[in-house]
């Protein structure tokens, strides 16, 4: 497809690497293989987490605790939260797409530390299995994914300790990943590619990795102290031994608030790649996008105590965190307006990737609005720890990140496999997910405002109807994964052949074959200085040359 394909072979291939599909079950060091390993492994855990969500929603169909024992409910709830965050969203938006795309975007043939990269991935399956196995061994942890002491110190210890171990492994995995991304973006960037020319996802991953490295070690340290409290009966957080339970909350949220941005910033990056391609327009406001990412990183690190407005937090602290949190709306707002402006005046094809991205915009705007409301201390005091919060964070993590994960799969599947996904099934999947999602989580705002606390298996009978509506929405969401699964498997076998660049995109991963060769490019690495250079005058376009437009130059 380009004039630069030279016959340099595929470069040195690591020894002892299986080929074909078997390499996805091996300790491969190829960033593309690792990326897909993250993706598929994450999706498997999504199904696990989804089944747990189904169990939760089944219990909540009736106001009494009749579907499972009360302590089992708390285990299921804890597992659901932990699996969804640590084994699905974080690994997929960071690990999967980061590994697959970042080397392409900076013009590298692999990540900076390929073996560390493989280690980072291979920590995940054992950690996940450990977590799920704890349920069958002695019962899983039951203190919620936040593991607040003293509850986490007084509930059965085995499950809690396994939970800590598992989260530590997953945290280690993300730190390794973060180091690798920063090194790859800053050090392996092709000569000639300026920072301000990188595709936006690189910036998002740079910001995310800074957050990961700044905050994850704090979580790890905290959990180690917590495990001392549990097994060695130390008193860091145990008030019976002179400890302070609120200190744990500060330390925990110092990681776990940034964790929200670790889940959504990469999604912001991905949607910034998807929209310009399908709207055939340059990404609007590149420079402000970059600044807003960095603004979110800085603000994201100083807002954690907004999770603790009712924890006896002194008034001055409540005010500081209210103001800091409220201001995150500004950089976030800029991003949304930029995406709308990217669509404005485009030639938008309404395919599954775009529909999921637009679903994301709608959901995230709502989640963001309730987020700004929650940042106001007086407002939060009423709805903290209620279903309003459950609704809010699912609008962020599911309506935001998960919608973008799906959009990204529809967008990059042709690159992963060389085949197209079925668009009709894709649009059906999108509609069903969007309706199910809003039916499930929309009414929960009302539940929270009117008096239903979260993390309960039994509730006031006046909330029965709304909970049933919510459960029907959950059922629709569960059903909506079926066309997706079918589509992904069926298309891999007999989907339409995609060609190298089915979307006529300009970012570098499309300027190689689909799926790409081991070293990413058979010939020399193209230098893409304008990843968003869309907008050649209409009618002046030479169809046969779309993938070879002069907008990008290759080689030197």
């Amino acid at each position: 497809m380009t004039a630069t394909i030279a016959s340099r072979g595929t470069g040195p291939r690591p020894r002892l690497q299986p080929t074909g599909w078997l390499r996805y079950f091996s300790f491969s060091v190829d960033h593309k293989v690792i990326g897909l390993q993250y993706l598929v492994c994450g999706f498997v855990f999504y199904l696990v987490g989804g089944a747990l969500a189904g169990a939760i929603r089944t219990e909540l169909i009736s106001p009494v605790a009749d579907f499972m024992a009360r302590d089992v409910y708390n285990q299921v709830l804890t597992l659901h939260g932990t699996v969804m965050i640590f084994l699905w969203i974080v690994p997929v938006v960071n690990g999967a797409f980061g590994n697959y795309l970042i080397p392409f975007y900076v013009g590298a043939r692999d990540m900076a530390f390929p073996r560390l990269n493989a280690v980072a991935f291979w920590l995940i399956p054992p950690a996940g299995l450990l977590l799920v196995a704890s349920y069958f061994i002695t019962g899983a942890a039951q203190s919620g994914w936040t593991a607040y002491p003293p509850l986490s110190v007084t509930t059965p210890a085995t499950g809690q300790i396994i939970w800590i171990l598992s989260v530590l492994l997953l945290g280690g995995s993300s730190i390794f990943g973060g180091i690798n991304f920063i090194a790859t973006i800053l050090k392996l960037r092709q000569p000639g590619l300026k920072l301000m020319q990188m595709p936006m996802y690189c910036w998002a991953m740079l910001g995310t990795s800074i957050l990961v490295i700044a905050s994850t070690p704090v979580l790890a340290g905290t959990l180690v102290l917590l495990s001392f409290d549990i097994v060695a009966h130390t008193g860091f957080f145990n008030p019976a031994l002179g400890g302070n339970v609120v200190v744990y909350q500060h330390l925990f949220w110092f990681y776990s608030h940034p964790a929200v941005y670790i889940m959504v910033l990469p999604a912001f990056g991905l949607v910034s790649e998807i929209l310009p391609v399908h709207a055939r327009k340059p990404l609007f406001g590149y420079v402000t996008m970059v600044y807003s990412i960095m603004g979110i990183v800085v603000l994201g690190l100083i807002v954690w105590a907004h999770h603790m407005f009712t924890s006896g937090t002194p008034p001055w602290m409540r005010l500081f965190f209210t103001i800091a949190t409220t201001f995150i709306a500004v950089p976030t707002g800029i991003k949304f307006f930029n995406w709308l402006a990217t669509l404005w005046g485009g030639r938008i094809s309404l395919n599954s990737a775009v529909l999921f991205s637009c679903g994301f915009i709608v959901n995230f705007v709502l989640g963001g609005i309730t987020g700004v409301a929650l940042a106001q201390v007086p407002f939060d005091i009423h709805v903290h720890d209620t279903y309003f919060v459950v609704a809010h964070f699912h609008y962020i993590v599911f309506g935001g990140s998960v919608f973008i994960i799906f959009a990204s799969v529809y967008h990059w599947y042709p690159k992963f496999t060389g085949r197209m996904l079925n668009e009709d099934l894709g649009r059906f999947h999108c509609m069903l997910t969007f309706i199910g999602f809003n039916l499930c989580f929309g009414p929960q705002h009302w539940l929270g405002l009117n008096g239903m606390p979260r993390r309960v298996s039994e509730y006031d009978p006046q909330f029965t109807l709304i909970n049933q509506i919510s459960s029907v929405g959950a059922l629709l969401m569960a059903i909506s994964t079926l066309p997706f699964l079918w589509n992904v498997i069926q298309s891999a076998i007999s989907g339409k052949i995609a060609g190298d660049n089915p979307w006529n995109a300009l970012t570098p991963e499309w300027l190689t074959s689909s799926p790409p060769p081991v070293q990413n490019w058979a010939g020399e690495t193209p230098l893409v200085e304008e990843p968003y250079g869309y907008g050649v005058p209409i009618n002046a376009i030479d169809l046969s040359a779309t993938s070879g437009r002069d907008l990008w130059r290759s080689g030197k």
């Binding site: 009360r70 302590d71 409910y73 708390n74 039951q142 919620g144 003293p150 509850l151 007084t154 019976a240 339970v245 709207a279 055939r280 327009k281 340059p282 990404l283 609007f284 406001g285 590149y286 420079v287 009712t310 006896g312 937090t313 002194p314 008034p315 409220t326 201001f327 709306a329 500004v330 707002g333 800029i334 930029n338 402006a341 669509l343 005046g345 485009g346 030639r347 938008i348 094809s349 709608v362 705007v365 309730t370 700004v372 106001q376 007086p378 407002f379 005091i381 009423h382 903290h384 720890d385 405002l449 008096g451 606390p453 309960v456 039994e458 509730y459 968003y532 907008g535 050649v536 009618n539």
Partner: protein, 265 residues
């Protein structure tokens, strides 16, 4: 590209704002207001809801409009216009949200002040003997500004899975909170085991009850009735059933309840 004329934008903007105001004023998602705090809270809620509705409808409207207006028609090939940015526009949509959130922040600060939240940490006036810091919930102000005699102090003890209320004055202990309407109540709360939270949705009040670290909360109930007290912090298997009730009575009725239960010493 056709940008709608300025007049049209203006009209649409006004419709949006008026619609938002209307939505904010008419739709009420909240339960009964039964405390002074609730009245203030609901004002904030209406403001947030109005702003939220305007933003949501505006953004989603813009999105849906662009999707329809700029969709790629069948077998149409070619790109959109190559606009990469527009500085005045970007300044505009940085400045406007900044002003909006600044307004929201200041307004909620004012609300918080009116709820009595903005005072330095209160020291325990009841048990002056122990030099103990009490970490304040909302409404610590009223304790300081009102005469002590007018305030009814109650001690709350939370444990897995019940609330206990103790009235030091009459030496009454109950599982149900009885309070007179229109009088400032101060709760001094402590937990025996894990963290619990005291929440009365109709009062719009919540405060964690933390072991080893007493907290306090004060409120004035306004409307006689019976309202649920809900534990809002995961505290173990029976967390969902950790509920009680607060009974708000007219002062006379409350007084007779109080006297008939007072333990004579």
């Amino acid at each position: 590209m056709q940008i709608p004329s300025t007049i049209l934008t203006l009209v649409l903007g006004m419709v949006l704002v008026i619609g938002g105001l209307w939505i904010g004023q008419t739709i009420n998602f909240l339960p009964t207001e039964a405390s002074l705090n609730a009245l203030i809270y609901d004002q904030l809620f209406r403001v947030l809801f109005t702003i939220g509705a305007i933003l949501f409808v505006g953004i989603v409207g813009l999105l849906v409009f662009s999707l329809i207006r700029f969709r790629r028609k069948n077998n149409y090939i070619g790109d959109g216009v190559a606009i990469e940015g527009n500085l005045p526009l970007e300044i505009f949509w940085t400045a406007v949200p900044a002003v909006v959130v600044l307004f929201v922040g200041l307004y909620s600060y004012d609300i918080y002040d009116r709820m009595g939240g903005i005072v330095p940490l209160a020291h325990d006036h009841v048990n002056e003997t122990q030099e103990q810091k009490i970490w304040g919930g909302v409404g610590s102000r009223s304790i300081d500004s009102e005469t002590v005699s007018n305030v009814l102090s109650i001690e709350v003890t939370a444990m897995q899975f019940a609330f206990l209320f103790h009235y030091p004055d009459g030496n009454i202990t109950t599982g149900e909170l009885h309070v007179p309407a229109d009088r400032t109540i101060t709760l001094r709360m402590e937990s025996k085991d894990v963290i619990h939270a005291f929440w009365v949705p109709e009062f719009r009040l919540k405060q964690d009850i933390i072991p080893g670290q007493p907290t306090q909360l004060s409120f004035t109930a306004t409307r006689p009735g019976r309202y649920p007290i809900v534990c809002a912090e995961l505290c173990g298997p029976y967390h969902g059933s950790m509920r009680s009730a607060v009974v708000v009575e007219e002062p006379d009725a409350w007084q007779s309840w109080f006297s008939s239960n007072t333990k004579l010493t």
